[in-house]
């Protein structure tokens, strides 16, 4: 009956599985912050955060099952976000190079 809406019905066990992975990753990132991995501390934290965000976007937000156009919109958003980050930081880290 739900196909009239044109949506893909995701089985609840998939949601529960994703939820369990997200909870495990939350514990993992909190635990990792107590270890001294030097430069890798923020890298581990961000890798886990990006993995969690990707799982939420793909499964909870149905992007895996949505039109490709949606993925394009998200890609554009992340592209402009990377411009914001890269250009801003490249300004600040190069200021002391001159003068």
């Amino acid at each position: 009956m739900a196909t009239t809406h044109g949506g893909h019905i995701v089985a609840p066990r998939i949601y529960v599985l994703i939820w369990a992975i997200l909870i495990v990753f939350t514990g993992l990132t909190a635990w990792a912050s107590f270890g001294d991995f030097g430069i890798f501390n923020p890298i581990i934290a961000l890798l886990i955060a990006f993995t969690k965000a990707s799982l939420v976007i793909l499964f909870f937000m149905h992007v895996k099952y949505s039109p490709r156009m949606i993925a394009l919109v998200i890609g554009c958003g992340l592209f402009f976000l990377s411009i914001l980050m890269v250009l801003t930081t490249s300004d600040y880290i190069t200021r002391h190079w001159v003068g």
């Binding site: 939820w19 939350t26 039109p67």
Partner: protein
């Protein structure tokens, strides 16, 4: 009128919920979802500005950010992250319930999402209160003493004053996130009322689906705020 042939040919099983500019309910749903994602992209850019400010000040005043980060409760932060992830699960289940036309389940899962959202805001309020009591709210009464080592001079005076930059960003970013949660709670109340009235039949629950996107987006913002604000470095620091 010749161009209207597709419209006339389209099956109108549910004409009452199909707006006239769309051919099919599926097209109508896709357009609404597309619009919702465009809005979420503007939200990414809005929070992106805050994350950009965070990135720059963290690089400039890293010791102050470590000291500030160590003063907020990792236990409350981790619990709140788990609460929000649970609320994302109940929200996903609410969308699922709407899709299979289970009205009572839909109301149940929307209410569960609402309650988990309120639990999150309550824990957030406890955290804010702790910061207020500790004089960690930037302003006239700001005074940073490392709670790990009270009594002694824990951090150099310049680092102590620079922690006000960390706390400004902490309150701005978590405050903006909390504002989004409050808006979400308000919309949830309306959705529960509408669901109770039977406003979301299985062929037309776009409003539930789009609110789900909003709620998951707010969850994602927190997924980044949690490591960036709470977990900068929990290893014992040599000041």
């Amino acid at each position: 009128m010749a161009s209207d042939t597709t419209t006339l040919a389209a099956p109108h099983h549910h004409p009452e919920s199909l707006h006239e500019q769309f051919d099919t309910l599926e097209q109508q749903k896709d357009v609404a979802q597309f619009g919702m994602w465009i809005f979420l992209v503007t939200e990414i850019m809005f929070f992106g500005g805050l994350f950009g400010a965070y990135l720059i000040y963290r690089n400039l005043y890293y010791p102050a950010f470590v000291a500030g980060s160590n003063s907020i409760s990792i236990v409350l932060g981790t619990i709140n992250t788990a609460v929000l992830i649970c609320s994302s699960l109940t929200m996903a289940m609410a969308v699922h319930s709407a899709a299979i036309g289970a009205r009572k389940l839909l109301i149940f899962f929307l209410t569960a999402t609402l309650l988990l959202g309120l639990v999150f805001l309550g824990i957030k309020g406890v955290e804010y209160h702790d910061k207020w009591v500790e004089h960690h709210v930037p302003g006239a009464n700001f005074h940073f003493v490392d709670p790990e080592r009270p009594g002694e001079a824990p951090v150099p005076a310049d680092v102590a004053s620079q922690t006000s930059i960390y706390f400004s960003l902490y309150f701005l970013m978590t405050g903006m996130h909390a504002l989004h949660m409050c808006i979400g709670v308000g919309i949830l109340l309306a959705l529960i009322w509408k669901a109770y009235r039977g406003a979301f039949p299985p062929h037309h629950y776009t409003m539930i689906e789009n609110f789900g996107l909003y709620w998951h987006f707010v969850d994602i913002i927190w997924i980044f705020l949690f490591p960036l604000l709470y977990l900068i470095s929990r290893t014992p620091q040599m000041h």
